[in-house]
Assembly symmetry: C2
């Protein structure tokens, strides 16, 4: 042989990330040690041992994460991002008291384009700093939400909200849908932004617009993002008003399909779980919001055992009060254990799946993100395990869920572009953003 | 008048801490804005408006916390500090599997003086960085735990452990008690360190040593720190073996007094709550450990309504997996709400009391710490609210519990001495400590 390993031509690529641990969440329940992620043209090219990577690739950017775990970017599958500006406005209250006497009045007074712009920017800043690279939103002015996310370089599924009553965003279901479709059109084919229909809840959206959304969802291949069975009160009121449970009504309207993202689902009869499983619908679990508002407990283990895809969301910062997916993973695991009295329920690996690949499946984007696999976009988070709070390390997966926290996120890439470097945001001016938020909050506090 | 306000003599003191918010936890359910804490001779001299403080005092050290809340140092009322070196060693397991098949074997192989020294140092480093200024410990080698805490300048109540079986620390109850009393003698009158008897649990300590501890507790005025009713299994086994529930047995042995710190208490009959209340015994609630091990839920709201003092602890890092009292406050509030289906249960103010003044009461040190009041030691934590995760602020108390986290702790004082400055530990070399921990963990991993 004339050519040995040393004269083999090296391939030039964009980025090499060498890491102590790589947790790919690729369905093989494993972690890799001393591996490297090769990135080119915004996507993951290969994951290979560091030594092999040094021989095979030369990269424009090469970085070492000797004490870090690289994980897929977390996916927050249920947010109302702009509500970050209301966080802490009303705490220690039940859902309907909180909504009717505090949040809805505050929204009617304060929500406008500027509020949504700044609130969404604050939420995205918090999410990126906490290792979240994609969020699934539902709020007014989805056009603003989409634009802010695109400008920052954040991945998002933006909900095209629909609610029976008039708001500052639209006056009636036709207008909600028309304005939503304009946002859909604008972002069609965008690398980072997709859209989904977001009818608020069964108790706030009537049959006619739901039927129209069902048809449009089929035609345009859009997901449907909806609060369902958040509380027992919602279910009992619906039975009084319609004679059936909300899930039954949605089933009869044809909404239980793989396009449906059913958020909360704290109330489930045993026969509803197989119905969800056979429909291919997804459940979005929001444990901290459900606990804080005393809404109820989603039976995550039973859903998982039945084959339902369960993703994870924080809900808004007004009911949580953060967008911290590390905290949400821990809470999901702990709530599952205590509610089933089974310490093996929702183990660490499953909590991590809920926060990554399961979210991607629910949002219909698991072909492009949600795990670290060749061909997918490089949505990657580096978590520093070399801190007082995180030494020593025995199992990096359980460590990630039960020991490390959002503050250990050091670096974040979204579609191959670095958006956080050593805990500093690259596309957001933190000082200016904080000043904007404080200015808006002073107005809210005075009213 | 010859002398106006400008010529009045200023008093020279050690320290002035000016803050945007002061949350004193002084029983008045309030926060103060633009107030200053004046500190002299390790104790709080006065809390007064910043403008008044500038006129009245000149201080050797004066610092401004314009965007911070000053709160009492948090009290972690149940720890096994040295077990930080085992964190993440065995997760997603029930209590007895976890104890019998993982933790006890690991302890018998690895626990020695060096382990306890380094593990305790790691735990104290984590606690101070997380705003905890006092911990209530139970572990082997309490002499080492006490020495490490005293050397670092950490406040602690060190448990004089007692268990029926021989361990590396002692061989029989006489030796456990004798060695414990030597530790008690050594630290009598120490400014930071006190001791308490720590019989492990009803199922591991028999009647005779418990009676002796009861007598000694009275004579020496020492608290008794004990796991009680952690799981339903413990209670049912005790009924089989003794004919009565553990709490009944302890009552009959005379242990239900204001000296008792009953840890966990997830199993309580309705008639046991008034018994606890009338005895003046304290309950230490460990929500995250109880959730993660699926042990059960302590009825905090019912205990509180009955007048029982309930404090808060993390339990060990092996079952939690951190010593984060901010996380524990949130978990206590959320678990109380979901377990009672009442969103008003354990509101933020009460969670904060559990983590501060209630802990001081349980440990018998509420005359010297647990709140920010003149005459008490200056055990103070500054929490930075000027971060992406913590703007805007509406109610600083709910913000502290539901929004801020351990990483927002910037500065910590214990008995007037600054132990954390801008997140850097003043009396611990972090790099050396991390290296020590990693070296010990490599030995544990290999065995």
């Amino acid at each position: 042989m004339l050519c040995n390993r040393y004269c083999r031509e090296m391939k030039n690529i964009d980025t090499l990330l060498h890491a102590r641990w790589v947790i790919p969440v690729d369905g093989k329940n494993r972690f890799l040690e001393h591996h490297c992620i090769a990135i080119h043209d915004d996507r993951i090219l290969e994951i290979l041992p560091c030594d092999d990577a040094r021989e095979k690739y030369s990269a424009s950017v090469s970085r070492n994460y000797d004490q870090h775990a690289l994980i897929p970017g977390l996916i927050n599958s249920h947010t109302h991002a702009a509500m970050n500006l209301f966080r802490g406005l009303a705490d220690d209250l039940g859902l309907m008291d909180w909504l009717e006497n505090h949040i809805w009045p505050a929204e009617s007074l304060h929500v406008n384009e500027a509020f949504v712009h700044t609130g969404t920017e604050l939420a995205i800043a918090e999410m990126i700093r906490g290792g979240t690279t994609c969020f699934n939103d539902m709020y007014f002015f989805p056009d603003i939400t989409a634009r802010v996310a695109a400008d920052i370089g954040m991945r998002a599924s933006v909900g095209l909200i629909l609610i029976d009553f008039p708001t500052v965003w639209a006056n009636n279901s036709e207008e909600y849908i028309d304005k939503g479709l304009a946002v859909f059109d604008h972002y069609k084919g965008h690398e980072l932004i997709k859209t989904a229909f977001a009818p608020h809840a069964p108790y706030t959206v009537s049959d006619q617009p739901l039927k129209r959304i069902r048809t449009l969802s089929d035609e345009l291949e859009l997901s449907i993002h909806m609060h369902i069975h958040e509380t027992a009160h919602e279910v009992s009121e619906a039975r009084k008003n319609t004679g059936v449970r909300p899930l039954t009504r949605l089933y009869e309207l044809g909404l239980l399909t793989p396009a449906l993202q059913a958020v909360h689902m704290t109330q489930l009869h045993d026969d509803e779980i197989p119905l969800l499983a056979s429909s291919g619908s997804h459940v979005i679990h929001c444990p901290e919001s459900n606990m804080k508002l005393a809404s109820g407990t989603c039976p995550v283990k039973a859903l998982h055992d039945a084959g339902v895809n369960v993703a994870l969301g924080t809900d808004s910062s007004s009911s949580n009060n953060d967008l911290d997916m590390f905290g949400e993973m821990r809470s999901a695991a702990m709530l599952a254990k205590i509610s089933t009295m089974d310490a093996t329920a929702v183990p660490a690996e499953q909590a991590l799946q809920m926060a990554t690949i399961n979210g991607a499946r629910a949002l219909g984007i698991d072909d492009i993100t949600g795990s670290l696999e060749p061909g997918k976009f490089a949505d990657i988070v580096a978590v520093n395990f070399d801190t007082i709070e995180t030494v020593p390390v025995y199992d990096p997966v359980s460590h990630l869920v039960y020991c490390s926290s959002r503050e250990h996120v050091s670096d974040v890439w979204i579609a191959g572009r670095q958006r956080l470097t050593d805990r500093v945001l690259n596309t957001i001016d933190e000082s200016r953003l904080k000043a904007d938020c404080i200015r808006i909050s002073e107005n809210i506090r005075e009213n």
